[in-house]
């Protein structure tokens, strides 16, 4: 019988280490087969990927810049998962969160930088959280399914942004739907600039200080989920809603709380993309990062440490994948999309496929011992 519950008598590491590793290995194995199928050498591809992701300073900068996005969206999906909710709307929440970041940078740029940074972070959380609040409220109070509502809200976010960019926020006299460039005082410092302050030379890359904020968010998320009353409520509702009610927890309030935090985390993607890299508000800056968050959370088993590792892996795949497209014309960024799909398939949908096989050796030994 395969199912989510651990079988008694099987050591814990089988579930925490062995199962995720085997699932990931299966995803990579099938990815390798796809590479073979289109007539390329998988080992060569891995070599180029690794070199492209970590081989030189600029590459490392880019890898960590992508990692920043994936930490935010991965944490967002994970917080909702802990509450038993599938937040498929990270993409839309990140989009609207970015809108908040852009508006703050455009209209509050007279503030001293620390205050501006605080308002930008608050705006990202507020806008992203608000975009998650409506689906959460509808799920909690009106019983509409969060998966469907958040999908619809992704599309609603996309059309809303097109409307705002084309009709309202566009810089007058310009053709492409973009706002004016932010005042240089409202740019988040790049990593190479920040490192230069303390005398370390580093190649130019889009990596910026939001990476630190992503790491701080990991710690905050860990503290929230496992060391606060609210985090306990979130896990209780996710684990067994009926029992949570019996314990005096209101599922409706908890669902709304978890989703708002989830949306806020997704919204922080805008801090990296808009304040850190683009320095203007534009269309489609979320570029599917919200969906990668699903793979990151599944792979990282909804734990900040796992999410950081999974985000780094996808960061490396994205940057290495860009390098790969230069070297091997057949292997475009879409190969990374294939790998992403396979990771979601094996680490998510087929999570328990290998469970009986991994448990078998331990169960057999126990039976022998009992006899």
């Amino acid at each position: 019988m395969s199912g989510p519950e651990p079988t008694p008598g099987v050591p814990k590491w089988v579930y925490i280490v062995a199962m995720p590793v085997v699932n990931l290995a299966a995803a990579f194995l099938v990815s390798g087969l796809v590479v073979l199928l289109v007539g390329e050498d998988p080992l060569e591809v891995v070599k180029i990927l690794l070199w492209g992701a970590f081989g030189f300073q600029e590459a490392i900068g880019y890898t960590l810049y992508y990692t920043t996005n994936f930490i935010f969206t991965g944490l967002a999906v994970a917080v909702a998962f802990h509450c038993g909710l599938f937040n498929i709307g990270g993409e839309g929440q990140a989009y609207i969160g970015g809108l908040g970041v852009g508006l703050a940078c455009l209209y509050l740029d007279f503030l001293p930088f620390p205050l501006l940074l605080l308002s930008v972070i608050a705006a990202a959380a507020l806008f992203g959280g608000a975009w998650a609040f409506i689906p959460a409220y509808l799920q909690a109070k009106r019983g509409s399914h969060i998966v469907i509502t958040t999908i619809m809200f992704n599309f609603l976010a996309a059309t809303l942004m097109v409307y705002l960019m084309v009709n309202v926020l566009i810089e007058p006299g310009q053709m492409s739907p973009e706002t004016r460039e932010f005042d240089a005082a409202a740019w988040l410092p790049f990593a190479h600039e920040a490192l230069a302050w303390i005398g370390i030379g580093f190649a130019r890359s889009p990596l910026n200080l939001s990476f630190l904020w992503a790491l701080i968010c990991c710690v905050l998320m860990w503290g929230f989920i496992w060391h606060t009353r609210w985090g306990y409520a979130v896990r209780a509702v996710g684990g067994n809603e009926a029992a949570a009610v019996y314990g005096g927890i209101s599922p409706a309030r908890t669902i709304i709380l978890a989703m708002c935090i989830s949306g806020a985390l997704a919204g922080f993607l805008g801090v990296n993309e808009i304040m850190g890299v683009q320095h203007r508000l534009l269309l489609d800056f979320t570029a599917g990062y919200g969906f990668v968050g699903i793979a990151v959370a599944l792979m990282g088993r909804n734990h900040p440490v796992g999410i950081c590792l999974a985000a780094l892996l996808f960061g490396a795949l994205y940057q290495g994948g860009a390098e790969l497209a230069f070297e091997v014309p057949k292997m475009t960024r879409d190969m990374v999309v294939v790998i992403q799909g396979l990771v979601i398939l094996f680490s998510g949908a087929l999570e328990f496929m290998f469970k009986p096989y991994l448990e078998a050796p331990f169960l057999r030994r126990r039976q022998v011992g009992a006899a």
């Binding site: 992403q340 799909g341 949908a349 328990f352």
Partner: protein
């Protein structure tokens, strides 16, 4: 007369836009009525669109293209079934995987096979489903009122449009008038009861998922071999999700689902026409607002503000047989 001509043109466009929606929404209906959530309609359509265009280009036959499209979509449906039915995996996660996998694979294979940046080469007329002109369409075109209705609206569509229209009564008949349909509806409401009656829940649900794959295959083939003349990266462009919205809007019943698809298709057709037009008393309606309406209406419906959409009771729950 001018207004009437325009009206007919908009209805004609509505039918063409609604065709893939109807096929995909009916596909989702088979799956979801059996208790399997399917947010992978989009991916199956995309996979089918690619396979159909590739096969039609290589063989020069739209029928072979159709077969390939249906086969690709059914394979993806089987993958979804394997994860959700055999391994009790999370159905939403599996659907996401199917969508992403199809988006990536269609481009990677397209580049490998055709080296045109992920597109398939342009299909010649002979390799496509071309409009079928009904007998006498040209003769009656000049007749007032009925003429344009016959020659524009009824005649002159390709095979898959007619298949989509026929798929609605066919789905209704299968669902409500056959033993398979009765069991399919039962397994989506109460799999325990079906199991107790000695009918395999697994096999029933696999058949439902395969029906879903078949119809999604038609929808995808329509995109690349009938409506357009090539596969283009991400050409399903969210149609699978609009179909999902229509499925919910139609409350998981064939005829209302068709109505929802026609409504969403109509909105799409009107949005193009209304671009930059001043409406008396209202002013300009932003195109984005009309484009957002299907999603907005679905959210409002789901929230129970216009009627109540009640999903099949056992939807999304893997069936664990008690030992």
């Amino acid at each position: 007369m001018e207004a009437f001509g325009l009206f007919i043109l908009i209805l004609d466009a509505t039918l063409r836009v609604s065709t893939p929606l109807m096929l995909a929404a009916l596909a989702g209906l088979f799956s979801e009525r059996s208790g399997i959530v399917d947010i992978g309609l989009e991916g199956k359509m995309l996979g089918a669109a690619f396979a159909a265009a590739a096969a039609a280009y290589v063989t020069g036959s739209p029928i072979v293209g159709l077969a390939a499209g249906v086969a690709a979509s059914m394979l993806l449906a089987l993958l979804h079934g394997f994860a959700c039915i055999t391994h009790n995996g999370n159905q939403v996660v599996s659907g996401v995987a199917v969508n992403i996998l199809a988006a990536g694979l269609s481009v990677i294979l397209g580049i490998a096979w055709f080296a045109q940046g992920g597109q398939t080469p342009q299909l010649p007329e002979a390799a496509r489903f071309t409009p079928l002109v009904w007998p006498g369409a040209d003769l009656v075109a000049g007749v007032p009122l009925l003429g344009p209705i016959y020659s524009e609206l009824i005649s002159g569509h390709n095979l898959i449009v007619y298949l989509a229209v026929l798929a609605v009564p066919a789905t209704w008949w299968v669902l409500y008038r056959t033993r398979f349909g009765l069991r399919l509806r039962a397994v989506g409401e109460s799999p325990e009861a079906v199991d107790t009656a000695g009918i395999s829940v697994t096999w029933l649900r696999y058949r439902a998922v395969l029906c879903c794959g078949f119809l999604c295959g038609l929808a995808g083939t329509y995109l690349s071999v009938a409506h357009n003349a090539a596969f283009i990266k991400d050409m399903s462009a969210g149609k699978g999700f609009i179909a999902l919205a229509a499925l919910i809007f139609g409350k998981w019943r064939p005829v209302p689902v068709m109505g929802a698809c026609l409504l969403f298709g109509f909105l799409d057709a009107v949005a193009v026409r209304l671009q930059g037009v001043e409406l008396p008393g209202i002013g300009q309606i932003p195109v984005q607002f009309i484009q957002a309406l299907p999603y907005l209406l679905t959210v409002i419906l789901l929230a129970g503000f216009i009627g109540k959409a009640v999903a099949p009771r056992a939807i999304g729950v893997p069936y664990l047989k008690e030992h």
